[in-house]
């Protein structure tokens, strides 16, 4: 399958990318690693008239210790997130989850920013950064602004990004000393999660988010709230789907997803508490 024809322009910097996307209007799309966008274009589910290639904006590929958080450039590839020693030390949950995105070939090309901006509820990194309480930095023609992960995901493949804004950085709070777990249930190793759970616990606080349990990645606040007020892991896990609205597909019915979510949240909390 060959995508429908489009015009292709290449940006050398974030500023140039934003200016180009502004010139070409809402029918233009950013191309980073292309591993979410190109499959959609081949299937004609997306048909942008212009692609602004930001894949060469290499100054947005970095993982830096920024004091109380780790700053990750939006164009950092999954493989670099997976293998980052800075993340291994301060936010190992994110590095581990990045190692479960697709397969090595996909992780060589796909970027963390592309995955988050695509806002697919079935993707691993939107939910993982949501669980971690991340903040996203976006840049537009009028400057940059910060959006909390919990305010970012608005609907299926829909985010708070304006059409002329570009995600530039992901800020993840340091999680030193936290217990954590990433549970991904699928039938083939490279597949999307049928249901996934990212969770951490530290000193009575916790964060739990669900993959593929609704139109957006889901923050399971009820689970964290129950743990905070002293509930057992088993009781807290029963609240796994309080915020979720799963749908059925070829892999799983709503009932099966609901069951999986509870089981996987329990397993994740047990692992994060061990």
């Amino acid at each position: 399958m060959i995508p429908a024809a489009f015009d292709y322009v290449r940006a050398g910097s974030a500023a140039e990318a934003i200016s180009l996307i502004g010139q070409h209007g809402s029918d233009a799309k950013f191309l980073a690693g292309g591993h979410s966008l190109l499959p959609l274009m081949k299937l004609r589910l997306a048909q942008p008239s212009v692609l602004v290639d930001i894949g060469r904006v290499t100054d947005l590929s970095y993982i830096k210790d920024a004091g109380d958080h780790i700053a990750i450039g939006a164009l950092t590839r999954h493989m670099d997130v997976e293998k980052s020693s800075v993340l291994a030390q301060h936010a190992p949950l994110l590095a581990h989850a990045a190692g479960h995105v697709g397969d090595p070939q996909v992780r060589h090309r796909g970027t963390i920013g592309g995955s988050i901006a695509h806002a697919d509820p079935a993707s691993d990194l939107p939910a993982t950064t949501l669980a971690l309480g991340a903040t996203y930095v976006v840049q537009g023609p009028k400057g940059s602004r910060e959006i909390k992960a919990s305010d970012f995901y608005l609907g299926f493949l829909e985010s708070a990004l304006a059409p002329d804004e570009m995600l530039t950085e992901i800020r993840v709070p340091k999680m030193n000393g936290a217990g954590w777990s990433f549970q991904k249930f699928n039938r083939r190793a490279q597949d999307w999660a049928i249901v996934g759970v990212a969770a951490w616990r530290r000193n009575g606080d916790s964060g739990v988010a669900l993959v593929n349990m609704g139109q957006t990645p889901v923050l399971a606040s009820s689970v964290a709230g129950a743990l905070k007020s002293g509930a057992s892991i088993a009781d807290a896990a029963e609240l796994a789907v309080a915020e979720a609205s799963p749908s059925a597909d070829n892999n799983a019915s709503v009932e099966y997803r609901t069951h999986l979510a509870k089981v996987l949240v329990r397993r994740a909390l047990e692992q994060a508490s061990a």
């Binding site: 399958m1 060959i2 995508p3 429908a4 024809a5 489009f6 015009d7 292709y8 191309l31 292309g34 591993h35 190109l38 499959p39 081949k42 692609l51 290639d53 894949g55 493989m79 697709g102 397969d103 090595p104 070939q105 996909v106 060589h108 090309r109 083939r188 190793a189 490279q190």
Partner: protein
Amino acid sequence: MQIRVTVNGVEHVSDVEPRTLLVQYVREALGLTGTNVGCDTSSCGACSLHVDGEAAKSCTLLAVQADGAQVTTIEGLAGKDGSLHPMQKAFMENHGLQCGYCTPGMVMAATSLLKEIPNPTEEDVRIGLEGNLCRCTGYHNIVKAVLACAGK
């Protein structure tokens, strides 16, 4: 759009439509048909080749994205005298193929894997090849071949 790509050590300057996929470019423009198209949806890995030394799925890359890159296809692995790459030899000696369709992609993924993990366990190999499907289900000997190539 004009692109300049080095494929198997030879530089090519070509005019391509932006929507040309890298796999289409190497197969149709350069005639390097060793790289197969399988699922065409970045699942099966049959189209794996190396971009700047790392395995990538060429059905999900535009040729324009490879502008300026070093690309290696299965044709570029063997020596100029035709001697097989150690991974190709290991696949042959361990019967790491049945129908052979997935083999070029498997070999390219496996050589990339050994660059990243030179001394893999069996589990490393099985997980490391998660992006490549063999519909003959010949995984056992494929894993054996990769381990043999790694000297195990």
